[in-house]
């Protein structure tokens, strides 16, 4: 099991990048009133047919040699389902894959959300060719980081330029 929910997110996003996604949206919502944490990750990658979908859910299949997908999906599913939450994966060949997981915030075995700040930074800068839209909503407060907006302002300067990396760290710290 992963020590943090944010580690699950990094792992799932790695699958999206492997599936040649050029755009990935990540929505994290914490609703204390409803006692609910939800994670919604959607990509525009190559997608999966029914057979592949079943395979990625099977932890034993994915450890085989030559695999393209890690243990990310079964691990997240496991965490969601063993902590009183739900898990749903839908995928369409040629359109992309969508994962939606919910967690019971009060479950004693629920891992902490973890460091969302570093998670955003690492994904955005470590995958400079991919566009991300992150949304973190805690009750009524929302923070959005949209790399399309950032790249538009940067023009030809890459998002992994040292000064941009430093800026993004501070920007997330001040606004999240």
């Amino acid at each position: 099991m992963m020590d943090e929910i944010s580690s699950h997110i990094i792992d799932i996003v790695a699958n999206s990048v492997t599936a040649k996604a050029t755009y990935i949206s990540i929505d994290i919502e914490k609703d204390t009133q409803r006692n609910l944490l939800s994670i919604h990750i959607k990509d525009n990658g190559v997608g999966m047919d029914r057979e592949t979908k079943e395979k990625v859910l099977d932890p034993f299949y994915t450890t085989k040699k030559g695999k393209k997908v890690g243990l990310g999906v079964p691990l997240l599913k496991g965490t969601a389902e063993t902590t009183g939450g739900t898990f749903r994966l839908s995928s369409v060949v040629g359109q992309g894959t969508e994962i939606f997981a919910t967690f019971d915030l009060s479950h004693p075995d629920l891992p902490p959300l973890g460091n969302i700040r570093d998670t955003m930074l690492v994904l955005v800068v470590g995958n400079p060719e991919t566009d991300f839209r992150f949304s973190l909503k805690v009750d009524s407060r929302q923070f959005v980081l949209d790399t399309q907006e950032i790249k538009l302002l940067l023009e030809e300067v890459p998002i992994n330029h040292p000064e941009v990396i430093t800026f993004l760290g501070k920007y997330i710290d001040e606004n999240m």
Partner: protein, 119 residues
């Protein structure tokens, strides 16, 4: 701090972008598969990025990759440098990541202490 400040960075950075487009001097790749993440690869990648930012190393690029098949030695970091052998580092933590930047990337001396392979 708002996104408009990126315009200032852009104006300043445009010069070294031209240089960088020709060829990054060093490429650092962090293994971010399931086992790497579980072993702390995110903190390693973050530390590398922050060190590159802090030292303004415009000729260095840090990226990530999936499983490498050396799970017991995660987090793994590879350093590719034009005209030099590839160095694979294992069991990297934040402290080691900082040393790697100073000793290998800045001073040009691979850190043999935690190098797994030189190829």
């Amino acid at each position: 701090m708002n996104l408009e400040e990126l315009k200032k960075i852009r104006e300043k950075a445009q010069k070294d972008v031209e240089l960088r487009q020709k060829q990054a001097r060093i490429r650092i790749v962090v293994g971010m598969g399931t086992s790497g993440i579980a072993a702390g690869a995110r903190d390693v990648l973050k530390t590398l990025l922050e060190e590159i930012g802090r030292r303004n190393l415009t000729d260095v690029i840090v990226t990530q990759t999936g499983e490498k098949g050396l799970a017991s030695q995660e987090p793994l970091v590879e350093v590719y440098e034009e005209g030099k052998p590839l160095v694979v580092y294992g069991n990297i933590n934040q402290e080691r990541a900082k040393r790697l930047v100073v000793e290998h990337v800045v001073n040009g001396n691979p850190v043999t202490e935690f190098a797994l392979e030189v190829m």
